[in-house]
């Protein structure tokens, strides 16, 4: 194992379960268990999968008008977020690019943020530099688990009565054996499910209690990636980064009316000029779904051409692989807005050969959130 990798509170459990551990965002994380990526993927879609996402950053923001303050950094309506609700957001830079994507929850007297592992140090510095009036506290004594899939509701409700009544993107605190669980009904798989912040000393007992349920299997990062890809969800650093704007990325739905032109709190976030202009006029390029017509996967970096021979290189794949629930290769990438219509045929260059690929709607598989 490379030196200096951080371990989550579930490291010993992963090893005991036979996980293959890999370095990821500075942590030693399970990429798969003996069931394998394909089996873990389909198990999550048909039953319930347990994910360790403790590498992600958990942050509490506290202070007067915290929601309005956070709006200085995100194009999202945070002030209008009701208590007990969560919303998807992104930190933008001055050029309207995305510094990180995150979840923001209104937990009454504070905001609770979940940010990407690889970005968390930069996010904390960013928050502290720009919101000096707020207390910015990284939560380092809690693990984060995700339980995803059609079986998740019954499984978790048996252990934590009451969670079945939550709707998609609700957040609430529940007691489990005398310990506070911060639970949201959300996830990164396109399935119904929950994300559970648990005191790190209780992470393994909770994980074991969940795994004791016949429906639940442990799921690694490999299947997490194929599940989110089928759900059309962006992976930071791949499908979105500091050069892609939320509008280009197809994330305009996350920019509520209050922050748009003519809204009550129009603009006022980094890069608002570009983002509002793109909302009005459309972006130059768009993130699209891609369905290779053959069986060869088109992975990240695959160059996209507008003709089988000659023609122009018009874009590239940002995430791609095999979709186990689709039974075929799937990918996402960026192309000029003028070529982004679903049904447009492009060619992806795989091992020197241009193979046909069709632009399609996202997601590849309809999500099953409990709205």
């Amino acid at each position: 194992m490379p030196e200096n990798l951080r371990l989550t509170p579930l490291y010993d459990l992963h090893v005991a379960l036979g996980a293959k551990m890999v370095p990821f965002a500075g942590y030693s994380m399970p990429v798969q268990y003996p069931m394998g990526v394909m089996g873990e993927h389909t198990h999550t879609r048909s039953h319930a999968g347990l994910f360790d996402v403790s590498h992600m950053g958990q942050v509490i923001l506290r202070g007067p008008s915290g929601a309005l303050a956070l709006e200085r950094l995100v194009p999202v309506d945070v002030a209008g977020l009701a208590e007990g609700r969560q919303r998807y957001a992104m930190f933008t830079n001055d050029k309207g690019g995305i510094l990180d994507d995150l979840m923001v929850a209104n937990r009454g007297d504070h905001l609770f943020l979940v940010v990407n592992a690889a970005c968390k140090a930069a996010d904390l510095a960013h928050l502290r530099a720009h919101l000096p009036e707020l207390e910015v506290r990284e939560i380092t004594d809690r693990a984060l688990l995700a339980l995803q899939g059609p079986g998740a509701e019954a499984v978790l409700n048996a252990l934590v009565p009451g969670v079945a009544a939550m709707r998609f993107m609700d957040v609430a605190t529940f007691d489990w054996q005398g310990h506070a669980l911060w639970i949201s009904r959300s996830g990164y798989t396109g399935e119904d499910g929950y994300e559970i912040s648990v005191p790190d000393t209780q992470a393994e007992p909770l994980a074991r209690a969940l795994l004791d349920q016949p429906d639940v299997a442990p799921i690694g990062l490999g299947a997490r990636d194929s599940l989110r890809l089928e759900a059309g969800l962006c992976l930071y650093g791949h499908d979105i980064d500091e050069h892609t704007s939320p509008v280009m990325a197809g994330l305009s739905w996350a920019i509520q009316k209050a922050r748009r032109a003519g809204g009550a709190r129009e603009g006022g976030f980094p890069g608002a000029d570009r983002v509002l202009q793109e909302l009005a006029d459309g972006p130059l390029a768009r993130r699209v779904g891609l369905r290779p017509e053959g069986r060869a996967p088109m992975r990240e970096g695959t160059v996209l051409w507008d003709a089988a021979e000659g023609g122009r290189n018009i874009g590239a794949v940002t995430s791609g692989g095999f979709g186990p629930s689709i039974g075929a290769p799937i990918a996402m990438g960026y192309v000029p807005a003028t070529s982004a219509e679903p049904g447009t045929r492009l060619w992806g260059e795989v091992r020197g050969k241009r193979l046909p690929v069709m632009i399609c709607d996202l997601p590849f598989r309809t999500s099953t959130y409990k709205r």
Binding site: G222, A296, P297, F322
Partner: protein
């Protein structure tokens, strides 16, 4: 059965060999989702990339283990790449090659030597 350091197995059939990947290789690759086979009658040299094999995780090549001519490919893998995980050392052979000189197989590992190689 003979083995290479690239985790291929070779089984002699007359003046030809049948080539596939070992159980160890299949396990390391994970679930195979795509196989691209060589052209029949292709003349290949040892070390040439003759097959592409993609798992849910990554793409890798299968190299020609020896010099020879491809005489037959296992089309079943194109339609059912998962066969590589189910029966890597049996039904999931990749191709057959005709060799000029079977003596080159003497340089390859025996099963015991391969097991030792895996450690």
């Amino acid at each position: 059965m003979k083995y290479t350091e690239e985790h291929e197995w070779l089984r002699v059939e007359g003046d030809s060999v049948v080539v596939g990947i070992t159980e160890h290789a299949a396990e390391q690759l994970g679930d195979v989702v795509f196989v691209e086979l060589p052209e029949v009658e292709a003349v290949v040299a040892k070390g040439d990339e003759v097959c592409v094999i993609e798992s849910v995780k990554a793409a890798s090549d299968i190299l020609a283990p020896v010099d020879g001519e491809i005489t037959e490919v296992n089309d079943a893998l194109t339609d059912n790449p998962g066969l590589v995980n189910e029966d890597p050392q049996g039904d999931a052979w990749f191709f057959k090659m005709k060799l000029d000189d079977l003596a080159v197989l003497d340089d390859l590992m025996t099963e015991d030597e391969y097991k030792e190689f895996l450690g």
